[in-house]
């Protein structure tokens, strides 16, 4: 047995003082340590120092090894990834006094596990018209803990009315029971303070059929008549979408969306001749890359 010889040589080479080679009497059936159990904590050897060198540098060109080492270390957890999720791209057929319209909600990120570049856009409009409500956000996404991220960036409004620019701060993540939640605070270039809460839940009915209730609430700290928004609760949206994942990244869906306005905002809407409340059917597609 060359292995045996080899080990014997090793034990000799190791030269540890008085190795406990005494065999312990095997207590049959007890989970005992190999020989004597590891000595008491105060006799525990300390770990050796961390070597400052790299063994392979003694054999191969250290510059080439350094490059290879960097690549190996990077490839074990440092690779960047990306995602562009078109969460909603939907058509809302008209009913009665609500003309048909469209809406979208897109999110994307690029980067590592802890720090990412993030983009987000959402909006809605009437068929054949420019979007009534549209915004795009760009920011830095940072993992706070296993479940939550913070996002800091800017938001640009592009829809109906004056185009505000906001500083945006968002906390997003997954709560116990698997709810997706998001809370944002915005401060506009006019100094207006607004906030938004979003939440959704994916209820698997089968492996591919998923029912998603969703809520989005906008709040304002002040009246903003030119934006037809009053202090308090502004726009409130409740949606229910049933999607079928033909593939994970490709899921057509149908659903309903109920939109309303809080008290002061509702009055401003009515004053300009619009109905603050609308219930719409919708059909769309969810996909990602």
């Amino acid at each position: 047995m060359s292995m045996r010889l080899f080990a014997a040589v090793l034990v000799t080479m190791a030269g540890t003082a008085g190795p406990a080679l005494a065999q312990m009497a095997d207590m049959p059936g007890t989970m005992h340590d190999h020989a004597a159990p590891v000595s008491s904590p105060d006799e525990e050897a300390s770990p050796p120092p961390i070597p400052a060198d790299h063994a392979a540098d003694a054999i191969f060109d250290p510059a080439i090894m350094a490059r290879a080492r960097k690549a190996t270390i990077h490839d074990a957890g440092g690779m960047p990834f990306s995602m562009l999720l078109i969460d909603q791209a939907e058509w809302r057929p008209g009913t009665g006094k609500n003309p048909q319209g469209y809406a979208w909600n897109v999110k994307g990120w690029w980067g590592g596990d802890v720090n990412r570049l993030a983009i987000e856009s959402e909006g809605e409009g009437l068929a054949g018209e420019k979007a009534e409500r549209a915004e795009i956000q760009v920011g830095w996404l940072h993992a706070l803990d296993p479940w939550f991220n913070v996002r800091a960036g800017v938001r640009q409004d592009l829809g109906w009315g004056p185009h505000r620019t906001h500083a945006a701060l968002t906390i997003e993540g997954i709560t116990p029971y698997w709810f997706d939640v998001e809370g944002s605070l915005f401060i506009s270039n006019k100094g207006e303070v607004t906030a938004r809460l979003e939440g959704s839940y994916d209820q698997r009915i089968t492996q591919r059929l998923i029912l998603q209730p969703r809520a989005e609430l906008d709040f304002s700290a002040q009246d903003m008549p030119e934006l037809r928004t009053g202090a308090g609760l502004g726009r409130a949206e409740l949606g229910l979408r049933l999607r079928y994942e033909i593939a994970r990244e490709f899921a057509p869906y149908v659903g309903v969306n109920w939109e309303t306005r809080g008290g002061r905002s509702a009055r401003l809407m009515r004053a300009s001749g619009d109905d603050p409340t609308a219930l719409r059917a919708l059909a769309g597609i969810r996909l990602w890359f």
Partner: protein, 606 residues
């Protein structure tokens, strides 16, 4: 006699010619070439046969050449792109003899770097084949000569350690015949190499997991299942939901993406190994998968396990074993009848399986077995099963767990709602060494030694199942010194973000290496704080599992740590140099579960 060279196509008995077999035969001409050892209708090798270079697909001798290149392959009707050794997937069988010297000359014909690691072989570190740790890697157009003495016998394998080439087919078996007599004689042998294959590039599979942790899992719990009374009752679903845990998260990449292969053949291609009734047939099982642990059985035929990770063990008879990624098990079976026998390799999460056939003549097809119901994780897999200490057959003795009587009682994962009040990320329970960042979603509150546990999903099958506690080395270990220190390492993860690490750190975060003194003996404890099994592989060494077998502790190069469990092993740091130490689930390694181990001479503390 040497491995026979069967004709390019299996000999088909006209009585048993079916369309699929015919297609499988034709497939060989469509870029599905196999080395002789992995061809359907293989005769295998007879014990004591002198390996000869004349046998195609078997490489032996003092100088062996491998050319790494691209090969188109057709698997399950779809064309894919493989990275291969000498043009085949799996690669040629390398057959060596204990005591010889060998030079393995590897030529890179790819347009990217490559490498070959000899998994389980004790070699000087510069020939271990891990780019950036043992050597620079092999650049396009370069040839690298690996030279080392062969100091061991048994079943091993080789695979790329560059990029994700291992998942793209750069893998093959190594068989080393002992210098002395075979401890367990047999008449004939077959290599049984298990793997998983997807035409989708592994980097894309990983990207999907980063985008959505459960991307490939189509066996989740559903409302339809709840209404039909399947899986967990509502109260348990709520308890698991509160902890943001998914009891169906068994495998990351599943049969929805993978075709499972035996010797490069899927179920329809039905790899067939021949035998003569009454022979003792040695099967050398190697799990060369990137992402799949397999349950292995030959329905109706008991198996005698004689080796684990290439190391002889006292023969132990069983009906089924789970083989984690990168492990090997050698078994002897004795099929007495002239009937085909199925070799079933079932994916851990039951999302698919592969059937091969042992048959007295080519062209026979062993019956397929149905997939069993996919398992659900339990409290025990969270390291929360407080009953673990007094389960039937286990008792406490002097503060240690008595594993002499492996418990056949299924762990009761549904009986301890009291434990549900425990937090799954209690920072006060986390060892100080753990970086409690976004990469650590769970800390097992009460991890237990699970070496006597049947592995995931086999807790309640009504036949014998191999556990680590059943393994006893045939020859007692030479180094019986007591370990002089302890080393605890936690396996940590965040499965939603798909981050994996040791002690909360990914290799990309540049943690310190794990340092050993040359020749020192250390008691290492691996604690699995995640909800998945991890086959942890240490390069350049074997370690002795502390499984209650005393001097006969089995030696392994890869140990599967069950979720919520811990594994203790004693390591003699016998090999100078720098060594890779990582989880062999390929995408866990590539998302951080990887460390460097250093072994340095000098500075000997008494």
């Amino acid at each position: 006699m040497p491995e026979q060279s069967p004709k390019a196509r299996p000999r088909l008995s006209p009585l048993r010619l079916d369309r699929r077999t015919l297609l499988a035969g034709l497939g060989a001409s469509l870029g599905g070439a196999f080395p002789a050892w992995a061809q359907g209708g293989a005769h295998g090798a007879m014990m004591g046969a002198a390996p000869s270079n004349q046998a195609p697909g078997v490489l032996s001798g003092e100088r062996i050449e491998l050319a790494i290149g691209h090969t188109p392959v057709r698997i399950n009707g779809r064309m894919g792109h493989a990275v291969t050794a000498n043009g085949t997937m799996p690669g040629p069988l390398i057959r060596l003899r204990e005591g010889q010297d060998v030079c393995l000359s590897v030529r890179n014909t790819l347009g990217e770097d490559t490498s070959v690691h000899w998994h389980g072989l004790l070699v000087p570190f510069q020939f271990d084949g891990v780019p950036g740790i043992s050597f620079p890697g092999i650049a396009p157009g370069q040839t690298f000569d690996y030279r080392f003495p062969v100091r061991q016998a048994g079943t091993y394998w080789y695979h790329s350690h560059s990029g994700m080439q291992e998942a793209m087919g750069l893998l093959g078996p190594i068989v080393i015949d002992p210098a002395g007599p075979e401890p367990q004689p047999y008449d004939r042998e077959h290599v049984i190499m298990l793997s998983d294959w997807s035409p989708v590039h592994p980097h894309v599979l990983l990207k999907r997991l980063k985008q959505m942790g459960g991307y490939h899992n189509f066996q989740k719990q559903t409302l339809a299942g709840l209404l039909a009374g399947r899986d967990q009752p509502l109260s348990e679903r709520l308890a698991w939901g509160r902890m943001r845990m998914d009891p169906t998260d068994i495998s990351d990449v599943t049969g929805s993406a993978y075709t499972f292969l035996i010797n490069g053949h899927d179920t329809d291609a039905n790899w067939t190994g021949l035998f003569t009734p009454g022979e003792r047939v040695r099967l050398r099982f190697i799990n060369a998968s990137a992402m799949t642990h397999f349950n292995v059985r030959l329905p109706g035929l008991p198996m005698r396990v004689i080796q684990a990770d290439g190391q002889d063990v006292e023969p132990v008879e069983t009906d089924e074993f789970q083989i984690a990624i990168a492990e090997t098990y050698d078994v002897i079976v004795c099929p007495a009848k002239a009937e085909p026998v199925a070799i079933i390799a079932e994916a851990l999460d039951r999302s698919g399986l592969c059937r091969a056939t042992l048959a007295p003549q080519a062209g026979m097809v062993a019956p397929l077995v149905p997939l069993r119901k996919r398992p659900l994780l339990t409290m025990r897999d969270m390291g929360m099963d407080m009953s673990g200490m007094d389960m039937g057959g286990m008792g406490m003795e002097g503060g240690t767990l008595d594993l002499s009587a492996p418990s056949d009682a299924p762990p009761s994962g549904h009986a301890h709602h009291g434990a549900m009040t425990m937090k799954m990320r209690d920072k006060s329970l986390a060892a100080p060494a753990i970086r409690m960042g976004p990469g650590v979603a769970t800390i097992a509150p009460a991890p237990i030694d699970r070496l006597a546990d049947r592995p995931t999903g086999l807790e309640q099958v009504d036949h014998r199942v191999l556990t680590y506690a059943d393994l006893r080395a045939l020859v007692p270990s030479e180094d019986r010194r007591a370990p002089t220190r302890h080393l605890d390492l936690h396996l940590t993860a965040n499965m939603e973000r798909y981050m994996w690490g040791f002690d909360g750190a990914k290799l990309s975060e540049n943690p310190d290496p794990i340092s050993f003194r040359h020749g020192e003996r250390v008691r290492v404890t691996l604690i699995n704080d995640t909800m998945m099994p991890h086959p942890i592989h240490l390069h350049g060494h074997f370690f002795e599992l502390v499984n209650g077998a005393g001097d006969k502790a089995p030696r392994k190069h890869t140990v599967n740590v069950l979720p919520g469990g811990k594994v203790r092993f004693d390591l003699t740091a016998s090999a100078l140099g720098d060594w890779a130490f990582h989880c062999h689930v390929l995408l866990h390694m590539h998302t951080g579960m990887f460390r460097v181990v250093t072994v340095r001479a000098g500075e000997n503390a008494a």
